[in-house]
Amino acid sequence: MSESIQVPTMAEYMAQGKQPEVLFWVGCAGSFDDRAKKITKAFVKLLHNAGVDFAVLGTEESCSGDPAKRAGNEFLFQMQAMMNIQVLNGYEIKKIVTACPHCFNTLKNEYPELGGNYDVVHHTQFLRDLLNEGRLKVEGGKFKGKRITFHDPCYLGRANNEYEAPRELLRKLEVELVEMKRCKSRGLCCGAGGAQMFKEPEKGDKDVNIERTEEALETKPDMIAAGCPFCNTMMTDGIKAKEKEEEISVMDVAEMIANAEDL
């Protein structure tokens, strides 16, 4: 992989008087978390590969406010939202894609009332559309025939009723898709939502991510596919706790597509 990838910012586009096809909202995890940064880079590669004209906000992006809102801090959430909306509206953004279901949900559902109206899609939906438009080719490559189970992110699935986009992509990778007992609308949370990611879990018998990882392992997968940087962390931690990290990896659907082709 090259040392540096081409990632234009909105400021640069503005300076050139251009408007991109889509704004890539990277999110905090995608910007700072080492594991999630790999997903960000894989997605950027796919965008380049499909010839998508995109830009990011870069240093002008700020937390969407999701964890603040779910923690109960409506003030902080709305401060964040309104600052972001000022920036987004300033650039006259129409379409946003993000690889984080939490940002996706907040931008899509909670920003409009505060003055931010955009067409917001999750990266699996965006990739699926690219695929259908023939702009992106997805083939099995090294994942062909691999046994893979997909963990539904709550904020993509139950929260926004999107269960099919990631599965369509996985099917295109010609994997053997196996479902966990609790999947789709009845999928079990990874344990990170509602700002739990940023605190210790309350007292209990077990951590939620362990429960979910055990369920994933019951399907005897070669890999676990995810669609959320937080789920990814939780499931990866679960796999480590079960000492299975040598055999089973947790990968975002976008990473799988990028890696299948060795882009």
Partner: protein, 441 residues
């Protein structure tokens, strides 16, 4: 005059039964109105669609096929057998006997279908009892189900058994009287189920049969009136409230949490460069609303309706990731606590004419902070509820109170929130480093 004695007695029973019931329902309505008003109800078409699909059509019940299908049997039985109750009421008031029998073969089939349904209801109720008391299915055994909730559930089942048995006894004796050609008992109806009970009554004289038939008839209708009045004291209110509750249920995407308007106004003011930070509030301005909820009066009316509608089935709790991993949180308990506190407030008002401070509130006295902080906001409870109850919204409102009124968030969350405030990310990274990833190999 004496001839009309039964009619008068019946009328009195009916008026007393329905009168008390109405009084209790008015209490429920009054208590629900203690909650905050909701804005204008939009999307009525979609809401009515939900009532038809989710409430009338029981679409979410069958997600769990065993309990779902049996519930449909009891529900259909309940609704259809009530046509018979209509006949009983008319007969009771006017002293007629099986007034609908003029329908001829249609009547025969109606009675036959009531009987088959009654039998199916009996079977379903027995299975329900076994699931609760023998099989002891996990979701019926959570700590919040101890005591009254457990007994309440069983009482309802016993009630239904007694009502169905009385109905069948009434039919069997009536049938036997018809066979014997007794006066008033003209041939009407078809009795595919109570037929099998005939041998029990074959030795009885006409007088005894009439006595048994009348007792069964009276106990059946009185039982229904008593049951109607039991609803208010029971989780069984759902048979009525499920319909309005589904109508008012959330129709936005589940992930969309409402934005607090009072906060929006303040944030807008803060971000307005022309606003005068020292300006006194305009004349007559309302005092700023309390943020979030610490008691039932802070919740909105739909949330309170939710609380009365909950029938404690526990599907929410059995799908809750926190509950499944042994945390204290149980979404069902959130609903039961909200209802119990609301009832307590209601009784307080009954006694004092208006609410007198009782030194208690929903937070801490009913719902602990540990429960509230265990939630992952995953919406599994909301998805699971067959009647569109939203326990998550109450959890969120109470978190808002803890954070915005009391600054009582867990320490780690305070750290994350400070980071968001200062750096625009929940972690302590500088916002200026947000694009560094593109240069990292």
């Amino acid at each position: 005059m004496l001839d009309y004695f039964p009619n008068i007695l019946f009328l009195i029973a009916l008026i007393v039964g329905i009168g008390f019931f109405t009084r209790n329902i008015r209490k429920v309505v009054r208590n629900i109105k203690l909650g905050r008003e909701i804005g204008e109800v939009t999307d009525k078409k979609e809401r009515w669609g939900n009532v038809v699909r989710i409430a009338l059509g029981q679409s979410k019940m069958v997600v769990r096929p065993v309990s779902g299908i049996m519930h449909i049997i009891v529900y259909v039985g309940f609704v259809i057998i009530n046509i018979e109750v209509l006949e009983i009421i008319i007969d009771g008031i006017f002293g007629t006997h099986r007034i609908f029998s003029f329908l001829g073969p249609v009547y025969d089939w109606l009675i036959a279908s009531f009987e088959v349904l009654a039998l199916l209801v009996l079977v379903a109720v027995v299975v329900f009892w076994i699931r609760r008391n023998v099989q002891r299915i996990k979701r019926f055994m959570n700590p919040e189900m101890k005591g009254w909730p457990k007994n309440d559930a069983n009482y309802i089942l016993y009630f239904e058994v007694v009502l169905m048995m009385l109905f069948l006894t009434m039919n069997a004796t009536d049938h036997q009287l018809q066979i014997l050609g007794a006066e008033h008992y003209s041939e009407a109806g078809m009795f595919p189920v109570s037929n099998f009970m005939l041998p029990l009554f074959s030795d009885m004289s006409v007088d005894t049969l009439v006595l048994v038939e009348r007792i069964a008839w009276w106990l059946h209708i009185l039982g229904i009136l008593v049951f109607l009045n039991y609803l208010y004291f029971s989780k069984h209110l759902h048979i009525l409230l499920a319909f309005p509750n589904v109508f008012f249920g959330k129709i936005n995407p589940k992930g969309q949490f409402s934005n607090l308007e009072s906060v929006t106004n303040e944030v807008k003011l803060m971000m307005d460069p022309n606003a005068d930070p020292f300006a006194a509030p305009p004349e007559g301005a309302e005092t700023p609303a309390k943020f979030g909820a610490s008691d039932v009066m802070d919740l909105n009316r739909v949330q309170l309706l939710n609380a009365y509608t909950c029938t404690e089935c526990g599907r929410c709790t059995s799908e809750c990731p926190a509950n499944q991993t042994g945390k204290k949180l149980s979404p069902r308990k959130i609903m039961m606590d909200t209802r119990d506190r609301l009832e307590e407030v209601g009784k307080n008002i009954n006694k004092n004419g208006e609410f007198k401070e009782d030194g208690k509130q929903l937070l801490d006295d009913y719902i602990s902070r540990e429960e509230l902080w265990a939630c992952t906001t995953c919406n599994a409870c909301v998805e699971a509820c067959p009647v569109s109850i939203d326990p998550l919204s109450i959890i969120m409102d109470m978190r808002q109170y803890l954070v915005m009124e009391q600054s009582a968030a867990p320490t780690e969350l305070n750290v994350a929130m400070t980071n968001i405030e200062n750096n625009g990310a929940p972690w302590p990274y500088n916002q200026m480093d947000r694009l560094n990833w593109k240069n990292e190999a």
